[in-house]
């Protein structure tokens, strides 16, 4: 079985979010990048588990610039066999998906894994787009995936509950909490990652369909109004008459 895992970078979850250049660019000064949590904790680890029990290989793909190689090495340290970096800035989900789909078409994979969403752009876009470009089924927000030959049984989050679906390989799946348990890379993995193949390829021609024109920050909250713990009636009164939410 051949598995492809889409790995993107994301700012560390404690990063201060600020913008520069007239609010047109994310301010990267002092920002630490990590592997997008959904990609690392769920997509990658489930692919590795399947490979360990069924045999095969796990390749990661990242659309990004050379600075992304540290997070790619992290994915290799956790256990991916080899990595591909498409040498381009990923500014648009369609462009990104197109690059991944081109690589997947040329190399043939049984399952393409993505994360549920990137925690910086929160688009939940790339996985579904890749599926459409490959003309394959797309199972979104999977919380469990078992593979039996070419047939997969997948639990996915659906409005009001969990659906159990069956789908045949090849397909694309986006991974949410529950798929696997986070793995911490060990020293051997980190050493091995240094020499694992990281192939750099140039992007295929494709236009961006969207761009972020400007960014803004939420308005600062006005100060918290404190109510004494022995005066809950006052809180209820405020919620009813002042905030008008109950």
């Amino acid at each position: 079985m051949k598995f492809l895992v889409c790995i993107s970078k994301a700012p560390d979850t404690t990063s201060k979010i600020e913008f520069t250049d007239g609010d047109t660019k994310f301010n990267e000064a002092g920002v630490q990048y990590i592997v997008n949590p959904y990609d690392e904790w769920y997509a990658l680890v489930r692919a590795l588990e399947l490979k360990e029990s069924l045999g095969g290989s796990v390749t990661t793909i990242t659309v990004g610039e050379v600075g992304d190689e540290s997070i790619i090495r992290k994915a290799l340290a956790i256990g991916a066999d080899n990595a591909v970096r498409v040498n381009a800035e990923a500014n648009d989900a369609y462009f990104t998906a197109f690059q991944i789909a081109e690589y997947a078409k040329a190399n043939g994979f049984d399952i393409v894994f993505t994360g549920k969403e990137t925690i910086n752009y929160n688009g939940s876009q790339v996985g579904g787009m890749v599926a459409e470009m490959l003309n394959q089924p797309f199972v979104s927000l999977a919380s469990k995936l078992e593979l039996n030959g070419g047939a997969a049984t997948i639990n996915r989050e659906m409005t009001g509950g969990v659906e159990v679906v069956e789908v045949n390989t090849p397909f694309v799946v986006s991974s949410a909490k529950g798929m696997a348990e986070q793995r911490i890379p060990n020293m051997r993995g980190i050493m091995a990652a240094r020499t694992k193949p990281l192939e750099v390829i140039e992007p295929a021609a494709c236009e961006d369909l969207t761009s972020f024109a400007t960014y803004s920050l939420p308005e600062a909250k006005s100060a918290c109004k404190y109510v004494e713990a022995d005066n809950i009636a006052e809180l209820v009164n405020l919620l009813h008459t002042e905030a008008k939410v109950i």
């Binding site: 913008f19 919380s143 761009s211 713990a229």
Partner: protein
């Protein structure tokens, strides 16, 4: 301008977030709605009241198959000449909108929280609600998927014409074997009131008071991530940067410290009430109303006082 809105009605009713999407579309242009499954004609005609002029319903596709739904929506967009297609950023929207974007080569702005501005750009949530971005489109056709609870529905008092829509959906790409319904009456992502608790509650046996308060209010229940990780509460209740992002009118947080990753998923709430024994808890900085106190005492009292209020009204 012609607008098409896809809504998920597979569970047999029209959810509030679906009505929001229809109403949103109707403020952009003349709105046709497309849906699939076995929803009643009356319920669909009633969408006229939130701005739909016409509703197309495909009865053949009765499962949540993203590739079949994509084909239906694409055919509907074609038949009504829609230049903007709107989804709700719910679980179905997340599966179908990107497929459709790739199929039509139409840019997708996901997680919109406001109507398009004069220049056509759309304000969306980014950085898990810590900031906003304005997405501009480089494509003629546009797809917008709307964050639940981000617009106020305005009723228009109309009724929509309902038509059967028999577009070719293609063959099924997956089979649905089983559906495990979520417990609890109010679904978290679309709830207007949410009662949430964290590690300060000490153990799952203490959640009775959280549930009691939620029931009294008609609220959904939620929790912090560690609480779901240790298994005190089900995963689908976990809110935050790596859980569900919510925008209720009221978010009550008891025994939650207010870590930045937790705030990311809840700071779109209109009003936040924080109950914490520690006056230094970071959550108070994001709160509208704060009580420095013991959740074990405050939650039951709060329930009592709300019961009194309800009895008066």
């Amino acid at each position: 301008m012609s607008v098409l809105v896809y809504i998920d009605t597979l569970n047999g009713s029209v959810a509030k977030n679906a009505m929001e999407a229809v109403n949103y579309g109707s403020k952009i242009g003349s709105t046709t709605v497309v849906t699939n499954g076995s929803i009643s004609e009356e319920d669909l005609a009633a969408l006229g009241n939130v701005g739909a002029t016409k509703v197309l319903v495909n009865r053949a596709v009765t499962t949540n198959d993203a590739s079949q739904i994509t084909n239906i929506v694409a055919a509907a967009a074609d038949s009504c000449g829609a230049s903007t297609i709107v989804f709700s950023q719910d679980l179905t929207g997340r599966a179908v909108a990107p497929r459709l974007s790739a199929k039509l080569k139409a840019g997708l702005a996901s997680g919109a929280i406001a109507l398009p501005s004069a220049d056509g750009s759309v304000k969306v949530n980014v950085f898990s609600g810590k900031a906003f971005g304005n997405v501009s489109f480089n494509s003629d056709k546009k797809i917008i998927s709307l964050t639940p609870n981000s617009i106020q529905i305005e009723e228009t008092g109309g009724s929509a014409a309902v038509e059967e829509f028999n577009a070719d959906a293609g063959s099924a790409s997956l089979t649905v074997k089983d559906v495990q319904k979520q417990e609890g009456d109010v679904l978290l992502p679309e709830a207007e009131l949410v009662v949430s608790a964290g590690r300060g509650l000490k153990g799952p046996e203490n959640w009775g008071m959280v549930e009691d308060l939620a029931k009294t209010l008609g609220a959904a229940t939620a929790c912090s991530r560690p609480v779901a990780d240790i298994g005190w509460r089900p995963h689908h209740e976990h809110v935050g940067q790596t859980g569900v992002a919510i925008r209720p009118n009221l978010y009550i947080a008891a025994g939650i410290s207010g870590a930045i990753q937790h705030l990311a998923g809840v700071n779109g709430s209109k009003v936040i009430v924080v109950i914490n024994t520690d006056p230094e808890a970071p959550f108070f900085k994001a709160a509208d109303y704060g009580i420095v106190g013991d959740a074990f005492e405050v939650l039951p009292k709060l329930k009592e006082e709300i019961e009194k209020l309800k009895a008066q009204n």
